[in-house]
């Protein structure tokens, strides 16, 4: 057995969807080329952009940082990063420390924002409250708010997240199965909000399978936080993911075809279904909101904060 590209007999990966067999160097190069191709095809970057990487220290965000840094090295963009510390004991600190070390290694502007400092409460403390809405509900909303705010404070023109092919396909199938056509219109490589306070979000890894990103960080010896969130539970996303992975065993191209199909109908969905959002303001924090309070502030009120 030898590398399909260079003939090296030391192979590390067999790509089921194409039959390609790759050695370490050719595999690393293929991942970086794929992400760069997505950036160019989807026009994710403009010269002079300052891109804020949402850096958790996990494999996806570290790979995003690594790929975007190649554009920074060529003076096309500038990069900064933010890490959200949700306050999850025995879990989050390792990712935060790894994120700090990557930012120092690359010499980029980086800040760590904790839920405790921002809202006066940790996710662990919220989960001790009675009648809470579930950890992921708070985590998602607070994290999104903090990242949007950090983008404005740091003068970022784009926010890059580590969403991979698996995340995107799960999102498409989940929203379709739930009949959530509103969310279905919001997926894609580049999401732009009607509210100008929300910075444009980009997903350079959306065409790369999760497993290949995991192998990439190990092959490249990048320090990442491999662990499971203690609040991860049997979610609908988990069930959908299992189903898609089962199908992938017999149909190795199914994730790509799902994404391609979605990309073909995305614009039609947007034109037909996009709602005209109210351009309101949260009466408590001033962030864009469709109701009197934004989602984050309505949670804070419920928590008595």
């Amino acid at each position: 057995m030898q590398c399909s590209k260079c003939g090296n007999p030391k192979v590390i990966y067999k790509r089921e969807q194409s039959g390609q067999i790759l050695c370490k160097d050719c595999f690393i190069e293929s991942i970086e080329k794929k992400a760069i191709k997505t950036v160019k095809k989807e026009k994710l970057l403009d010269k002079g952009d300052k891109v804020l990487v949402a850096l958790s220290g996990g494999k996806d965000s570290v790979t995003t940082l690594e790929v975007l840094n190649s554009f920074r090295e060529r003076n096309i963009i500038d990069i900064c990063a933010v890490t959200v510390d949700e306050g999850i004991a025995n879990y989050r600190q390792e990712g935060v420390d790894i994120a700090i070390r990557h930012a120092q290694r690359l010499g980029i502007e980086h800040k760590v924002v904790s839920l405790k400092d921002e809202y006066g409460i940790t996710l662990d403390e919220i989960m001790q409250r009675e009648n809470h809405k579930g950890s992921c509900t708070y985590c998602g909303v607070f994290r999104r708010t903090i990242i949007n705010k950090a983008a404005r404070e740091m003068g970022a023109t784009k926010i890059a997240t580590g969403h991979n092919l698996d995340d995107e396909v799960q999102g498409i199938i989940m929203n379709y199965l739930e009949g959530n056509t509103d969310n279905l219109t919001k997926l894609g490589a580049k999401s732009e909000s009607q509210a100008e306070e929300f910075t444009v979000k980009i997903k350079p890894l959306r065409e790369i399978p999760e497993r290949e990103i995991g192998l990439y960080v190990v092959a490249k010896d990048l320090e990442v936080h491999f662990d499971s969130c203690p609040y991860a539970m049997q979610s609908f996303r988990g069930e959908v993911s299992e189903l898609i992975n089962q199908l992938t065993e017999k149909h190795p191209t199914i994730k790509y075809s799902t994404l391609r199909g979605y990309d073909k109908i995305k614009n039609i969905l947007k034109d037909e279904l996009k709602k005209d959002y109210a351009h309101g303001r949260c009466s408590r924090c001033g962030e864009p909101a469709s109701n009197e309070l934004c989602k984050a502030c309505s949670f804070l009120e419920e928590l008595g904060l």
Binding site: I12, Y13, G214, A232
Partner: protein
């Protein structure tokens, strides 16, 4: 004929049960999904079809976690 298995806290010597025993066979035995793991043979990344040899050190790294 034995090999060393390293996986999370595990570090143990195991017998090679038969000829042409691959990492894929080992993953099946441990009920681990190849989709969530990468494998190293004597410190080098390898594919799951790799045959485990006498004296090998096989390290399994979990790269995908739920949630």
């Amino acid at each position: 004929m034995t090999f060393i298995l390293k996986y999370k806290q595990l570090n143990e010597e195991r017998d090679i049960p038969h000829e042409n025993y691959t990492i894929k066979d080992l993953l099946k035995e441990l009920e681990l999904s190849a989709q969530t793991m990468v494998s190293k043979q004597n410190g080098e990344l390898v594919i799951e079809d790799t045959v485990i040899q006498d004296g090998d050190e096989i390290q399994l790294v979990q790269i995908i976690y739920g949630g």
